[in-house]
């Protein structure tokens, strides 16, 4: 092959001094100058780990397997039940939360507020004060939603009596779960826990959940990918904008609901509640993404990212070939637009499991399909397309099921490869809401952030040790 080189035109990729690339071109060779910077912010161990994994046949094969499982997943919404009944092995006195593992004392304000609310909702304590004490006593087990196949937006707190959506991947049979969206304003996921919040949660458990369950059952389950695919053609990216998907879901559910024998007052509250919440689909979108990604988790040697999640303090990722490990870094602040009266100083760091949508190739990755979102998160429609295009460089491929009209119906980038993130220094883009740092205030803005490269550096070092 050395001799073969002598017979070819020299075509050089130049890494470093740009003048060398110029000299090559002046003397009749071809050269391409890289926009290079030290990978892994100069961490040599991560850099070397990465180097040996580049184009490694074992990793490539594992990634193909993982990516194929991810793409062939067929998540179907099959019903609603209490977390206690739906989620296997969820113990009593267990509270699930968003992001990587975290103990009570380190939790951010909104998450602590949500934990207190959940304790009160379950009746494990009489009042806020005793609830707070109980939370810190060690008698409550805290665990990431992700450890139980679940996902929850913002603080993501799920308690045993809360209703959860149940999604089954028809391809591989794996189950995933998410809580039901409470709407905007004073809500548990932002840490609000007053009586109005608790009343709503009780109603959701008693009325909304069962109603949704019957409707979904009556429909024989709802295939979720077609709804997302259609919503992407209607201006949603199914993370921060779910207006179209929520409407599509409402269209499916309403006739089924109307056939049910529900008291008039319950019926109208259910319909009003669903119709009045443009984010009603978000939690389902997340469970769908979780379903697809869990299918791809656990493939030895695969560098596919299967989860990105934040608890308001740490940002964590999981990787298909790295088992149960979390690779974490401090959660970043979100660069965004704030609602009137709020600013960056009010914001909590990045929070919630909703980055599962980006992990699955929608949300920020499909931003090009949702030009309207830029009014909410800042930027121009061109920026939105640029974000999506950039993400092609860190994904293993595309999701043929999700196409993006503004990109000439190209398939959305899908399947983050840890290697590509480190090699290019392009961090996954996340499109997200911003929570107030204090419990109970709610959402104060929305914007765009990037997954911290540190998480990926740790992951590559760990993978390299195999």
């Amino acid at each position: 092959m050395v001799n073969k080189l002598f017979e070819q035109d020299l075509q050089v990729i130049n890494v470093g001094l740009a003048s060398f690339a110029d000299a090559i071109q002046q003397t009749g060779g071809k050269s391409l100058q890289l926009d290079w910077r030290p990978p892994a912010s100069g961490n040599r161990e991560a850099g070397m780990s990465l180097a040996v994994l580049i184009n490694d046949p074992k990793v490539e094969a594992a990634n193909r397997t993982a990516h194929e499982r991810f793409l062939s997943a067929q998540p179907v919404l099959v019903g609603v039940d209490s977390a206690r009944n739906a989620i296997p092995n969820l113990g009593e006195r267990t509270l699930l939360h968003a992001g990587p593992p975290i103990e009570w004392s380190r939790m951010c304000g909104p998450m602590q507020g949500a934990v207190i609310g959940a304790i009160l909702f379950e009746g494990w304590a009489e009042n806020h004060e005793t609830a707070r004490k109980l939370a810190g006593s060690g008698e409550i087990k805290f665990a990431p939603c992700h450890h139980y196949g679940a996902v929850g937006p913002m603080s993501g707190v799920i308690s045993p009596s809360m209703p959860v959506w149940i999604v089954r991947n028809q391809d591989r049979g794996n189950m995933s779960f998410s809580n039901l969206n409470e709407g905007l304003g004073k809500v548990l996921r932002f840490g609000a826990n007053d009586d109005s919040v608790l009343e709503r949660l009780k109603w959701m458990a008693a009325v909304l959940g069962p109603a949704m369950n019957s409707a979904v059952k009556q429909l024989g389950g709802i295939e979720l990918r077609p709804i997302i695919a259609q919503a992407l053609h209607m201006g949603d990216e199914c993370h921060n904008r779910n207006a179209a998907a929520s409407s599509l879901l409402f269209k499916r559910l309403t006739p089924a609901l109307l056939k049910m024998d529900l008291p008039q007052s319950d019926m109208s509250r259910v319909l009003e509640f669903v119709a009045g919440n443009d984010h009603f689909f978000l939690n389902i979108s997340m469970a769908c993404c979780k379903s697809m990604l869990d299918a791809a988790h656990g493939v030895e040697h695969s560098t596919l990212v299967t989860a990105m999640a934040r608890n308001g303090v740490d940002f964590g990722i999981r990787v298909s070939g790295s088992g149960d490990a979390w690779f974490t870094a401090p959660a970043p602040m979100v660069d965004g637009l704030f609602f009137p009266g709020y600013s960056q100083i009010d914001a909590a760091p990045d929070l919630g499991d909703s980055a599962i949508t980006e992990t699955a190739g929608i949300g920020g990755f499909a931003m090009g399909a949702a030009p309207a979102i830029v009014q909410f998160v800042g930027g121009t429609p061109q920026d939105a397309i640029a974000y999506t295009r950039e993400m092609f460089h860190i994904t293993m491929g595309v999701n043929g099921g999700f196409t993006l009209p503004p990109l000439n119906f190209d398939a959305a980038p899908a399947g983050i490869d840890v290697r590509k993130v480190i090699d290019t220094g392009i961090a996954p883009v996340i499109n997200t809401g911003i929570a107030h740092k204090d419990a109970g205030v709610g959402q104060v803005g929305a914007g765009i952030t990037r997954a911290p490269l540190e998480c990926f550096e740790q992951a590559i070092i760990s993978i390299g040790k195999y």
């Binding site: 020299l10 050089v12 690339a21 003397t27 060779g29 926009d35 180097a51 595309v398 090699d423």
Partner: protein, 516 residues
Amino acid sequence: MTTSQRIIKKLYRDSVSLMQFSEKVRALNGINQASAVMATENNISLLVEASLLASAVLPSPNDLLIVVEGRDEASVSEALDSAEAMLKAKSTESGEGGVRRVPSRSIEMGLEAMPSANFVLISTPGEYAAAEARKALQLGLHVMMFSDNVSMEEEIPLKQYARDHDLLVMGPDCGTAIINGVPLGFANVVRRGDIGVVAASGTGLQQVTSLIDRFGGGITQAIGTGGHDLKSEVGGITMLQGIDALAKDKATKVILLVSKPPSPDVMKKVLEKASQSGKPVVVEFIGADPKSITSGNITGVRTLEDAAAASVLLSKGKAVKKFSNALPAKYKSMVKSAQKKLKKGQKYIRGLFSGGTFCYETVLLLSEALGKVYSNTPIRKEEKILDVWKSLEHTVIDLGDDLFTQGRPHPMIDFRLRNERIVQEAKDPETAVILLDIVLGHGSNMDPAGELIPAIQQAQKIAGKAKRSVVFVGSVCGTELDPQSLSRQESRLRDAGVILTDSNAQAARLAAAIVS
């Protein structure tokens, strides 16, 4: 109103983009209706129904059919032409799949942008170079590592991987190479010919290739190995691969090897490989006795100049003469006139070099002629100069030594340090000759003569005040086609009073003759 159509063979576009495209065509001057479709049976009948197509054409679903209706023949045919151009331009400009042509951040991204790439040139800081080289190799690409400060622990596995996959790793610390006529790193623009070079030394490679050019020969390939290659730990992997490749290369008639003497085990392997090459091989192991090397098809030589001369002779099918160690006659008159300028007490040579191998060769030749020569790269330990900033008797300094390059560009680029030293040497009443190398080529300073001449003039002025004169002797390593142009640089330096020889070796001999 007139209609016309055109079939574009084997061009596929999806219906959405074709609808957008049809809109664009419709907007063209003088056009009322336009439609671009894949030429399927259904599409054709639709067009016939819409009276855009006078009669059905044969369906050919892989071809694209454009029909337009417009004011007159001219506008219709013009529209069809631009439509076709638009379609074809799109396919090469943007490609498909929506991948934006963002600047490539990694070698793999680079390969996606330039799939036919076959080579990666790495000049990153040394700590990152090994990782980049590893990526390149695993992606199936040949590598040149210009970067230095790469440890042997990193170098060895890279070279082993490369050898096992029949790929080349030139370097680390490979300053120069010429592959397929393209100069890489610091390299001269050398005529193509039939001499293949493998060299462990960067400036050694530049000297032999430039001299081959000067002597009317040319090169096929000039492969750099990097300075560690011929140590026993590395085992000469790249040089052995280089010899193999040049032996197989049909264009190469003569092989030239340049290095400091390798460790004995590696020397044996290299000479064995050279003897099996089936081609004449010239070997310059700088400082080794040529007689210990010459045998069979292998010719050992003493200097870089002799190496170039022998290679050119062999490539022209001529016998290699015995090279003389004496100064050629053409320089003898210069010695006399130079000596006349010197005062008593001006006894010593001060060599100020930018090229490591030039320095080393000079130390060797001067020691032979004059005895003790102090240097930061001495041949005998006891002649290591204690204070590199101050000369002692005959002193020859390599200014490219790490000692001098911390935090500043290489002396081939930045002349400030050497110029200061020239002035400093001129102040010393014992300085007789200031001996220089001047290196041209890509990567080097764009006007070395322009950099040096003011310093030379200042040096002469200082010496003149003390009623002395300093003799400047040097050689220019380069070719006519180098960006700086050999002849222009030489004539300006001569005008400034510098005595120039063709080669570094002759400059050393001439300097020695002046002070003898």
